[in-house]
């Protein structure tokens, strides 16, 4: 209990945010309009949905400084609440591809730098229809240069001055450069649509959205009660009401669930999950591939500026041991690439295994026989310190001395961005395209591996200006093969996100990684 849960969560979430920031050039295809969408969560064995009841869901929260302003959403609790009250134009499906929501479709021009987005017929809780003006108002609010709203960076590709409402339900977005993956921008974390003219004061008192639930009451850091919106475009929720309660301590969330005080507890520990899985008292839901777990090597400085050393480190890691030790087994091994199971993931590459002999010979060739490195870690995220000490022991077997250095957890992410050579790293779910644009381009703002290659940047531009989806996938594949061979991220695993529910809760999605459309989605849940 030493660590401050609030922060850990904040850290994690932030990773997942900012999706699509800096989406550069693009291209893309237009298809897509009405496809997919709304994953109906649950497995088929849940029976026929039953209407009615109030579901109480416990999340870790931000205490008294919480707000219902969806553009300020920071924590998982904020996102879950924003998702109940508001809609975005698009959201991420289970494979992190953009699925239409308020947008019924999108159509680029040939140059992929002008996108016509059509809105579906939907109403705000006030009864007013959602219009193109509301969309532009919301995006302009997020992009306000005076403010630091989270989705601002994601909306950067849009030239909002030139964009306009063609008619009531059509927006024409003018982009600064071709962007094939533009729908990712529409799905960006925090890019919610609010009514034209909303002000910050409205959100705390009486937030009006177009989401599946209407506002009833809110006490920051304690509870938020929302009621079913019978007129929601995606169908009315099964529940009468949903109440979000805040409990920062994991043990409190578990106890409240076991004691019948809540029906849904977000973010449980693997040990808790093991203790209760299959015991019949509560249900444990594991959302796979929710968090990438990695070590980040700074590729612009010794010893990692030599790609043989990086490869040696790839070969030092015993991934299963790391998953078992640092994640208590709640996860799967990684293959040095982000986004297992996501759209465009290069899953054809052979799984990397520990090979200490080859690692030693690579190090010798690189003239790094008696290598000493400092590994930065911190209690900022679950499993970080454990992963560091496990890796130190694995490295010792290859003759590498790893010196583990504990950093402050409150400023960890800012500290490791530019300093050090090797550090523990993790990231929440986001499209692979966003991971690349945010972290692996020369101009990326959070490039922790200092992966800066003009030819790699060019490949990204090429992907974003390729309209054909197959060709685009091939370009993303090429980029990933390069990263697999000599990148800076040693991705050793993907952690499960663990949720507990009471026995009678049905329709909880079991596949959606944390932060995607069907995660924490209460309009599709019912109480049996």
């Amino acid at each position: 209990m030493q660590d401050h849960p609030g922060l850990r969560r904040r850290g994690f979430l932030t990773a997942a945010s900012g999706i699509g920031a800096l989406a550069l050039v693009g291209c893309g295809d237009s298809d897509d309009s009405g496809s997919g969408g709304s994953g109906q969560g649950g497995d088929s064995g849940d029976g026929k949905p039953r209407r009615g009841g109030r579901l109480r869901a416990a999340f870790a929260g931000g205490g008294a400084s919480e707000t219902l302003d969806p553009h300020l959403a920071n924590l998982f609790a904020d996102v879950a609440r924003a998702k109940a009250l508001f809609d975005k134009l698009a959201d991420y499906g289970d494979d992190l591809s953009a699925q239409p929501r308020l947008a019924s479709g999108w159509e680029p021009n040939a140059g992929l730098d002008r996108w016509k987005v059509t809105l579906r017929k939907a109403d705000f809780h006030s009864g007013k229809p959602v219009t193109a003006e509301d969309v532009l108002f919301s995006y302009r609010r997020i992009a306000d240069p005076e403010k630091a709203f989270r989705a601002k960076a994601s909306l950067e590709p849009i030239d909002l001055k030139a964009s306009r409402a063609v008619d009531e339900r059509t927006v024409e977005f003018v982009l600064k450069r071709p962007t094939a993956e533009f729908p990712n921008v529409l799905a960006a974390f925090g890019a919610y649509i609010v009514p034209d003219g909303s002000s910050a004061a409205d959100f705390d008192k009486k937030p009006v959205g177009s989401g599946p639930f209407r506002f009833v009451s809110f006490a920051p850091g304690r509870s938020a009660v929302f009621r079913r919106n019978d007129d929601h475009w995606d169908g009315a929720p099964h529940l009468d009401e949903v109440e979000f309660v805040v409990a920062n301590e994991e043990s409190a969330r578990v106890n409240a669930l076991l004691g019948g005080q809540v029906e849904y507890a977000h973010e449980l520990n693997p040990t808790t999950a093991r203790a209760h899985e299959g015991k019949g008292q509560i249900e444990i839901v594991r959302l796979r591939n929710s968090a990438m777990q990695a070590f980040a090597m700074k590729t612009d400085r010794a010893p990692f500026d030599d790609k043989r050393v990086r490869e040696a480190f790839f070969l030092i890691a015993d991934r299963q041991e790391l998953v078992d030790g640092a994640l208590s087994g709640a996860g799967v091994v990684g293959n040095d690439l982000f986004g297992k199971g996501y759209e465009y993931y290069a899953d054809g590459l052979p799984q990397r295994e520990q090979d200490l002999d080859r690692a030693r010979s690579l190090l010798k060739k690189a003239g790094a026989g008696k290598l000493k490195v400092t590994l930065d870690t911190s209690a900022v995220a679950a499993g970080f310190t454990e992963a560091a000490s496990i890796f130190r022991d694995q490295a010792a077997r290859a003759g590498v001395t790893v010196d583990v250095k504990m950093g402050s957890k409150d400023s960890y992410w800012a500290d490791i961005l530019d300093s050090g050579t090797l550090c523990c790293y993790r990231s929440g779910a986001m499209p692979i395209e966003s991971h690349i644009s945010q972290r692996l381009l020369t101009g990326s703002t959070t490039n922790a591996t200092k992966w800066q290659h003009k030819d790699f940047d060019a490949l990204y531009q090429q992907a974003q200006s390729t309209k054909d989806e197959k060709e685009r996938a091939a370009v993303f594949g090429r980029m990933q093969r390069r990263l697999y061979a000599e990148g800076g991220f040693l991705v050793w695993g993907f952690a499960d996100w663990i949720i507990g529910t009471a026995k009678g809760v049905k329709g909880v999605d079991r596949k959606a990684p944390a932060n995607t459309l069907d995660w924490a989605r209460f309009d599709k849940v019912w109480l049996a």
Partner: protein, 317 residues
């Protein structure tokens, strides 16, 4: 009484100075922490441009002494400033969270005094016999258990196994009086340690007092034993206990952090934890002022009580 008046005034003045010192120290320490609110808010998306923008929006780019000056001058008008994280006034944080913490603390104190004094007197009355040994063993044993562990134990047994009480106060908000069952376990955890220390102290004081010449003299006059114990010996035992009690109340305000986290009670401890994590300096400072003032006032009160009950103890200012 005028002597007592100047003494109290001197104590108040000293208390004021102590509060100011606490505030300055807290400001200096939060400044010295690595990272600021902007870095904490940016989390693992530490885009330098974004951090700079947040910093500017929060006025963190101004020098520390200016921010301290503004804040201190606002304090003179009971204006605690606004939270960096939410922009809401700090007073709303404090007033919103004060209720649950105060309720927990006062319930604990109300039960603590009779329980602690009663156990202490009981043990002293039967010094060295079975009752004394039982009370001493139990109080020492319970004292040794950390609150968090004790709380988890109580929840597991009384809430999850026996299903007698709710395991947490989640969803009840600040209106805890409407759910008295939810208060039982938190108050028990809060009581566990102070009851032990207080009863040990009262026991020791009573034993000393009972062995003193003036009690022996009173006995020789034939004054009944109960009267000697309660009217003559107890006040002398209570004087140090009152000061211990004041210290306990300070501690309650802090110990409450553990209890609030464990039982999900939205009080001052929760606010403080979040504010520190977010580097929300104005909130931390506001709480420091509140805690500082409470501590000073309580200790002053305790010294007055001690002064009144045992003037010969020469309570130092």
């Amino acid at each position: 009484m005028s002597g007592l008046g100047t003494w109290a005034a001197r104590r108040l003045l000293l208390g004021g100075a102590q509060t100011v010192a606490v505030v300055l120290l807290v400001f200096a320490l939060t400044e010295a922490l690595p990272g600021d609110a902007a870095v904490a808010l940016a989390g693992d998306q530490p885009d330098p441009a974004r951090i700079a923008a947040i910093r500017e929006a929060m006025d963190l780019d101004r020098p520390a002494h200016e921010r301290l000056g503004d804040w201190a001058s606002g304090l003179l008008h009971a204006d605690f400033g606004t939270s960096l994280a939410s922009g809401r006034p700090v007073t709303s944080y404090i007033s919103g969270a004060f209720g649950p913490t105060l309720l927990l603390a006062s319930l604990t104190v109300v039960l603590l005094v009779p329980l602690g004094v009663g156990l202490g007197v009981l043990a002293a009355r039967f010094e060295g016999r079975f009752v004394d040994r039982l009370v001493s063993a139990v109080t020492l044993g319970v004292y040794a258990v950390p609150e968090f562990a004790f709380g988890v134990l109580l929840v597991t047994v009384f809430a999850l196994r026996l299903d007698w009480l709710p395991p947490t106060a989640v969803g009840y908000g600040t209106d805890l009086l409407a759910h008295p069952a939810a208060l039982v376990l938190p108050v028990l955890v809060l009581l566990s340690r102070p009851v032990c220390s207080l009863s040990r102290l009262v026991r020791a004081g009573m034993i000393d007092a009972l062995a003193s010449p003036y009690v022996a003299q009173a006995m020789r006059y034939g004054i009944p034993g109960a009267r000697v114990r309660h009217a003559h010996a107890l006040p002398n035992a209570v004087a140090p206990a009152a000061q211990q009690l004041a210290r306990t109340v300070d501690w309650l305000l802090c110990g409450v952090i553990v209890v609030e986290a464990l039982f999900v009670i939205p009080g001052l401890g929760t606010v403080l934890m979040n504010a520190v994590a977010e580097r929300d300096v104005p909130v931390v400072q506001g709480l420091a002022v509140v805690f500082g003032v409470v501590t000073v006032v309580l200790n002053l009160g305790a010294d007055l009580v001690a002064h009144r009950f045992a003037p010969r103890a020469e309570v130092a200012a």
